[in-house]
């Protein structure tokens, strides 16, 4: 398991290779990458800054990954989340999951992202033509996370 909170960019190819190379039990690897978009809630976005709660962030991510491992037969998980100032098109987050079969990998990857969005202490501040603004949490994110509770 790899959990990293860092300013530096990451190389998806390198990370996926690290999860799968020399692992003969791996039959599936599902991954998600989030990027900085140029528009949000009707406004042009020029860049954004990600703040986090050092210490709690790593702990929250580890708890989310542990819960995923308890639900599905996973072989390994990598979560990398960037902080600091990011430009349009920059990678924000990587979640990658390996398992024997695709079903577990797809489900666990989505679960980890849904929980990350509602339980890991990161906050986005966007730069727009009208000035900087904190991104509001979306109700749809709570709904997405809530569907795993049954």
């Amino acid at each position: 398991m790899k959990i990293a909170v860092q300013e530096a960019d990451f190389d998806v190819g390198v990370e996926l290779a690290a999860l799968t190379r020399g692992q003969p039990a791996v039959g599936a690897c599902a991954s998600f990458v989030g990027y900085v978009r140029d528009r949000n809630d009707g406004a042009a976005v020029a860049a954004m800054t990600l703040e986090h709660y050092p210490g709690m962030t790593e702990k929250a991510l580890a708890t989310i990954v542990d819960e995923a491992r308890g639900r599905w037969a996973l072989l390994d998980v990598t979560v990398i989340h960037r902080v600091g100032r990011l430009d349009i098109g920059d990678q924000i987050v990587l979640v990658a999951v390996t398992s024997a079969h695709r079903g577990e990998a797809f489900a666990a990857c989505e679960f980890i992202m849904d929980y990350l969005k509602t339980r890991a202490p990161f906050w986005k501040r966007e730069e727009t033509p009208e000035g900087a603004r904190w991104v509001d949490a979306r109700e749809t994110d709570d709904v997405a996370a809530g569907r795993w509770e049954n």
């Binding site: 990600l50 929250a60 509001d136």
Partner: protein, 84 residues
């Protein structure tokens, strides 16, 4: 009882402080008590009581406002998270 209180994101900006060490009276037993104590400081602090969907963590675990606060705890207040 002394606790460390942390503020993040929009809340930190509104309050103009990111962390403080706070000596509390014995009457403060829960996160909700602590919030009420802080909100009574006036002006910007009053919004702690009205802040929509205010989240809190004790010792780096998210907890409801009813959670207990004890000597040496690290209590954090922040808006709903928006990472990913």
């Amino acid at each position: 009882m002394t606790v460390t209180v942390l503020y993040f994101a929009a809340l930190k900006e509104a309050l103009g402080v990111s962390s403080e060490s706070l000596a509390l009276s014995p009457g403060v037993a829960t996160v909700a008590d602590l919030r009420a104590h802080l909100a009574a400081r006036g002006e910007a602090w009053a919004q702690l009581a009205s802040f929509k969907n205010l989240r809190c963590a004790v010792n780096q675990d998210m907890v409801p406002l009813t959670a207990a606060v004890k000597e040496g705890d690290e209590v954090a207040f922040f808006p709903p998270v928006t990472g990913g």
